[in-house]
Symmetry: C3
Subunit: 212 residues, 3 copies
């Protein structure tokens, strides 16, 4: 378990990189395109977190190992993606692991930087979702955040549990594991069952202008 | 009037948050999705401004009150949006108020940071428009900036008037109020009349490849 | 040649600004919209580079000359674009020049900031591509990076050659010129011939949900 926590950051980067490479495969890019989308997705959330906190130069400029992880994942997906039965489901699950990990890691970094607890939950949610948002925008896909299954809520719940545990004195490893587990469980439920929170139901769209 | 100016920043955040929540309602998100889009829209412009100027950690990490405003606005819209006759028009007006306020607030921050006057106008325009751009991109809507009615021009005019007034020695409150009033008046004219500046008229699209 | 290198930054800004204004003309914006899109495209790549490295306030806040270049290019395109036979091809070529220049300039800035060589190649690629990505996202166009012709690969190759030359002791001017020439040559080949690297070929899209 401790080892897992030590590796939470590289694992989050690797699974998000894989989700990015899977979207690149859906778009028919070349191998350099795979690497670029993988890197942007893998580093995106942590980069936004570092920028908002003022921790620059950002972490990946001096982390050849992490760059290697991204590149290796991208090449692997480039050559192996045709063996995956449903690339879309593989992408959902990789994204879910990254979402759960970055939610607690983002919240922790915010707390360490002296952010107030509510802001830590928001920063965790933003860190968890922005890598995927950048990926989907770059690739002209509908952002996962707009799909019906519960998504941002999973990140927010994981970050919130982590913050509550930490503020109430729980030790770091337990709080990280608990928050990530809750976030992943909620998102997994959403993927498996298509379950969502009660959503706003728009009335018939009389007043909606046509949009592109 | 002085009170209004003191509250310009929270008001800009609240109205942009409302515009974000209204777009979330058009997309049928859950309440956490409402809060996230409200926060990104409300804090987006000010965050871009702070990042460009190097003022980090960004302001909302230590502003529980502003987070509360965003969350309250999101919840209110979640439960009350069905009572609004045209959510799209409500969204246009909320966005217009935020646009006018952030244009002058962004320009002022740039001047204080020692930016040159032209750059202050550009930064004001960017601050005013990027919250809404982030909102529309996240929600896969056509950015307001691409609609026919005058938009970026309103922000630029408000920021420019503020900068001219300040550089020529007018006191702060008057310059802020004047710039915001001009920006709002121009944008309001655009909304009410569908009026636009002379636009570039493309020739028949012989050479345009199909785009997604 | 030396003069050209001295002017690499303003030239990259000017050609990207022109590509932004050309997209604005395809969208039928007004002249202020032209200026805003031109500025965002021209300054986008360099701004992302500066933010990631922590070099704030960003460069254009104190560079009235560069702002003037962007504005002049925007106005020129506003009045002259109808004379261009194919605005889309003009845009491709302006973008190609900017891509090649920003790839090496971005990589150089990263090296100077102490980034490791692989990270410098990635930062060069990001610097070269993000101005155009911001332009295309703001204007709701399909990002050039998703088109079939080789694109990100050209930026990465130019940045990589520059980094290899610099690390192996070549002098700055030669390395910059070599990297930019390679990047431009590869991208030009892609534009002229529609040539691309072997791409990932998706299987029939059984499991693809419909996307907007």
């Amino acid at each position: 378990m401790e080892n897992l926590l030590l590796w939470a950051d590289p694992i989050a980067i690797a699974v998000f990189a894989a989700s990015g490479a899977l979207v690149a495969s859906r778009k028919g890019l070349d191998v350099v395109g795979f690497m670029l989308i993988a890197a942007v997705t893998g580093f995106g959330g942590g980069t936004v977190r570092d920028l908002l906190l003022g921790r620059t130069p950002v972490f990946w400029l001096r982390a050849p190992l992490l760059l290697g992880v991204c590149a290796a994942v991208a090449v692997l997906v480039f050559f192996a993606a045709h063996r995956v039965e449903s690339r879309f489901r593989a992408l959902l699950w990789a994204d879910a692991v990254g979402l759960a990990l970055y939610a607690v890691l983002g919240a922790e970094t915010a707390l360490i930087a002296g952010a107030d607890p509510w802001a830590a939950v928001l920063l965790g949610t933003i860190t968890a979702t922005f890598g995927g948002i950048l990926r989907d925008i770059l690739c002209n896909e509908l952002p996962l955040i707009l799909r019906r299954e519960i998504y941002a809520t999973a990140a927010a719940a994981g970050a919130a549990l982590f913050v509550v545990l930490r503020v109430s004195g729980t030790e770091r490893d337990l709080a990280l594991a608990g928050g990530a587990a809750l976030g992943f469980a909620i998102r997994a439920t959403g993927i498996i069952s298509g379950w969502s929170l009660p959503v706003y139901r728009p009335r018939p769209a009389r007043d909606y202008p046509n949009q592109g």
